[in-house]
């Protein structure tokens, strides 16, 4: 990775973190409603992953989607506006936190039914294969999603039909309050790909550089061989499953231990140690992000509510 790109990744990770911290405050203040799942702690995963894609590659994920949206190039303004349910959000305030999409940026959404988007991801690849292009579909999902039938149906069909899907399991150790070993027959999720004769790999999701390198390699394989690949990325969410999670299922020491492995802290140190950036340069990025997030909040708060007629638009296309 070139220096500029590394600094850009750092910027993206800090942007996700700060935007969500503000989001959490706005949620507490009652300005954001519904379910909001924070990505804090997992920033290196989608940042490293999406940095490795071509613009024509499609991205689809679950409801923990703010980071993915930002990484795909959706503006902080639009993300914040959607969180506040405003007309200027990318889903016009109809989708909210869990449903961020901007198909012009090949971000095909946050999806709230666990595992439900996996067969749809296969479908993207079916469509692209039918069209005769070599686009890749990058489909992200949680560890918990690998225990539902959708996952298995989608993986199987992607293998027998030689679909260009990069399956990405974000193993953050829990599906809500259920630890992986209480819900999954194998704790290394990548092993599930073996059952489908699918190539797979595993990478440390707290190190954005490693994620990026693994993603580049996996995408090269998918594109060139026209075969699916499952990449397991090990990570941890620093916050509750969603806002208001009492977190009775994990110990504070465990959370603390992982927090010492902060992906932003790790990358910050790497950039300094390798003399890729000075402290001043990184501080400037922080300051730029602070300003961008503040502006996004201002933009979202000043934005209009969707008009009442919007209730009845977009139900049908014809």
């Amino acid at each position: 990775m070139k220096k500029e790109q590394q600094l850009d990744l750092y910027y993206q990770m800090v942007l996700i973190r700060r935007l969500e911290e503000r989001g959490a405050e706005l949620y507490q203040a009652g300005k954001i409603g519904g379910f909001m799942h924070l990505y804090i702690g997992q920033e290196a995963v989608s940042t490293g992953l999406i940095a490795a894609r071509e613009d024509r590659d499609r991205v689809i994920t679950a409801y923990r989607d703010h980071g993915v949206a930002l990484n795909c190039g959706i503006s902080a303004n639009e993300v914040m506006a959607e969180l506040l349910g405003k007309a200027t959000g990318m889903s016009k305030g109809k989708g909210g936190s869990m449903h961020m999409a901007d198909t012009s940026r090949n971000m095909w959404g946050g999806h709230a039914i666990v595992g439900g988007h996996l067969p749809i991801a296969s479908g993207f690849a079916i469509g692209d294969q039918y069209a005769g292009n070599d686009n890749i579909t990058i489909c992200m999902f949680g560890d918990g999603a690998t225990n539902i039938g959708y996952f298995h149906e989608a993986l199987n069909i992607s293998k027998i039909w030689n679909l260009r899907v990069l399956w990405v399991c974000e193993n953050n150790q829990y599906g809500m309050g259920t630890a992986v070993d209480r819900a999954s027959a194998v704790t290394e999720i990548r092993q599930k790909a073996e059952g489908y004769g699918m190539k797979n790999g595993q990478v440390d999701g707290m190190d954005v550089t490693k994620v990026y390198e693994a993603a580049v390699e996996a995408m090269k394989f998918v594109r060139e061989s026209s075969q699916p690949y499952l990449l397991e990325i090990d990570t941890y969410r620093f916050r509750g499953h969603s806002m208001g999670d009492p977190e009775r299922y994990r110990k504070a020491e465990e959370v603390k231990k992982w927090q010492e492995n902060d992906p932003i802290g790790i990358f910050n140190k790497q950039l300094l140690d390798k003399k890729i950036a000075t402290k001043k340069a990184l501080d400037e990025i922080e300051a730029r992000v602070e300003e961008e997030v503040a502006k996004a909040v201002e933009f979202a708060e000043a934005s209009p509510e969707p008009a009442m007629e919007e209730l009845f638009t977009d139900i049908y296309a014809d």
Partner: protein, 324 residues
Amino acid sequence: MAKITMREAISQALMEEMDRDPKVFIMGEEVGVWGGTYAVTKGFYDKYGAARVKDTPIAENAIIGGAIGAAMVGQRPIAELMTINFGFSAMDYIVNQASKLHYMFGGQFTLPMVIRAVGGGGRQLGATHSQTPDAIFAHFPGLKVVSPGTPEDAKGLLKSAIRSNDPILFIEHATMYQVRGEVPEGEYTIPIGKSKVQRAGKDVTIVTYCKGLELSMKAAEELSKEGIEVEVVDLRTLRPLDMEPVIESFKKTNRAVVVEEGWKSYGVGSEIASRIYEEAFDYVDAPIIRVAQKEVPLPYNRTLEQAALPQVADITAAVKEVLK
């Protein structure tokens, strides 16, 4: 009489039945260590242990299919759907298997199982997480569908459901767990398949259930101040449907409004209205009005979502309209 919340009522019913019958166990997502997403089974895991309070993987088919199998071989499982929306992921097991196996195999075995499911909108959860699809499930013979509107009914009906030998879908409303109401002291059950007059009146009959009951009781109160006395009939069970109290009330008032949270088309209101027309046509003084959700997937934005959901004002307006 003790005044308790809907959450406490459901929780008590589960606990009393688990204490009474060792065949009863619970399985579902986050029912154990977490204590239930809506805190209904808080403390159960410590009290009954992992064998009777089973945290499942996120696998709705394995949950409902598993409950069916366990019930067929003689246990009394209570399967929990974290929300009824995830029931669509297990639709085949609910409507194509649970509802048919007893009949199709000539009654050789029974399916003494309850599916507890949380439904309803109003929490800004977006289109896939906010539905009130009760009518869809009530469409299928072989499945019983219960959806209470008061803590008293919730407790008594759930206890009956657990003791019943039929598969029963028990639908709770996500915004009603804090609703308080009087509950009889000590042991009681309420029979499934019996509608109930929750408020007596002479001018208009409101037929409703679950969240609709909460809204209708408020509407009735407001209307009463204006001298309009509404009789509120609570269905409590959608299948089997008990029309007797509805028809009896209608013969007295000759006017009806049906209130439900789900969509109007092909909904509970459609069923009730046609049953009234069929069974009491000579008593009809005005077209029956259905108050229901606007025909849109529910949006996230709070103002739009509330505009799509039936409100107390929609009910009072409908009552005045049928009185014209």
